[in-house]
Point group: C2
Chain length 255, copies 2
């Protein structure tokens, strides 16, 4: 098993990710928000790269089951129903709803990875569930961190490193780590023991503190608090028993 | 002083680097080769992004003082005089020559940073000299690592971390580190004590070992062995007393 890692979606393109197993990480906050929404009963998340796409798609669908969610630079988009704070995505708001979602960094990463063979959404809140699935699948995979406007984000990197450490502990032979994956594992060793403290000091964490989203950092720093695994299915992200359903075929491939 | 860091030139664009102080690092091997060539008396290095540009520019200049140097994926380019191994750039070959240089990653980074206010070329072999200049200048700066085909390269990151550590030790107030700069400093702390060992295990290091350039790794792992500072001057890279020449103005700005 080889693990590759892109610290920003800018580093890669759709063709490079085609047919691969891909994990998208955007700790602050798209991944955490998507996991929260699906945990709270949202039917599906439809990731789109631009606000224009979000509005266009929503116009073609039934309004009573559709919500628009997302942000630009941490702030809610005019005309949208929800921002990008996981705290907003309560069961009352999102149960049975489809959510068209567009964020500055996270949905760019999701859209770039849309031709992946498997695409999972990971954050600290579901890192263990993601690691278990990757161990079961047993294939090479690529982590795509959302980053911060084209730059490395420390919280995504530390989460990627935690995922790599968990996967490494769960497979028989140590995975081969690309330079980026080794870097992330090293950053997790250095900063993984104080995740909230680390997050308060990162570029994006400090920005969210500045604009009043300090409580979100606590939610996003929770490890394994929401043990579900969102996965892309066609053009939408759902929690589905896909990994389990594929298990027999996957296991026979892995052995 | 704030330090930013791009792990690959793909992450950034010319406008983002315009008028900034920029340090380009491509340990394996463009930065090391450029420092070596200038140490051995080359008059100047002309970085170009494409092989076609290199051939075109060379056609307009006097052949007896011009050499073509560089590589694609570690191998010499057909029709070029020199590859990208620092060992080739001996005084006998390069003294008084202008060298048009095009490499897979390093010259892309140099070309992207061409509108910088100051652009320095750094590798392990001259990291101390680069750090001294940055301390004297006393301004914010951005490190652009060449990376490895759009991915993070561990050897560039560790060298960047060493540069950050040296600069931090040489200025009065601790610099503010962007997430990427903090990541590089952390990687330097983890791997900086065994640079050659680290380099033999990286993606690019292993590739160079595979294609017969093991000796180059030893040259590129030497710390402070070639204490000069190449700097972009117009369209060419030279060793010039520019930093010293600018000192009075720069110092007065910093104070």
């Amino acid at each position: 098993m080889r693990i590759d890692l892109c610290f920003t979606p800018v580093q890669t393109d759709e063709l490079a990710l085609r047919d691969k197993t891909v994990v998208v990480i955007d700790v602050l906050r798209a991944s955490t928000t998507i996991v929260t929404a699906l945990t709270n009963g949202a039917r599906e998340i439809i990731p789109v790269a631009t606000v224009e796409s979000a509005v266009k798609i929503s116009g073609n669908l039934f309004g009573d089951v559709i919500l628009l969610g997302g942000e630009r630079n941490g702030k809610m988009i005019e005309g949208f129903n929800l921002g990008n704070s996981p705290a907003e995505y309560t069961a009352e708001r999102v149960r049975t709803k489809a959510i068209i979602f567009s964020s500055t960094n996270g949905s760019q990463a999701l859209v770039k990875a849309r031709y992946a063979r498997d695409l999972f959404v990971c954050s600290f809140v579901n890192v263990g569930t993601a690691a278990e699935a990757l161990c079961r699948i047993g294939r090479d995979f690529t982590i795509v961190c959302a980053g911060n406007n084209g730059m490395l984000s420390m919280e995504d990197s530390v989460c990627a490193g935690m995922l790599i450490a968990r996967v490494s502990a769960g497979v028989d032979a140590p995975p081969e780590l690309a330079d980026g994956a080794l870097a992330a594992r090293t950053l997790h060793r250095a900063f993984g023991r104080g995740i909230l403290k680390m997050m308060r000091a990162t570029d994006h964490g400090r920005h969210l503190l500045d604009i009043g989203f300090g409580e979100d950092l606590k939610i996003c720093a929770g490890v394994d608090t929401l043990p579900i695994l969102p996965q892309l299915d066609g053009n939408v992200i759902r929690v589905k028993p896909a990994v389990q359903g594929k298990e027999p075929a996957v296991q026979s491939q892995a052995t």
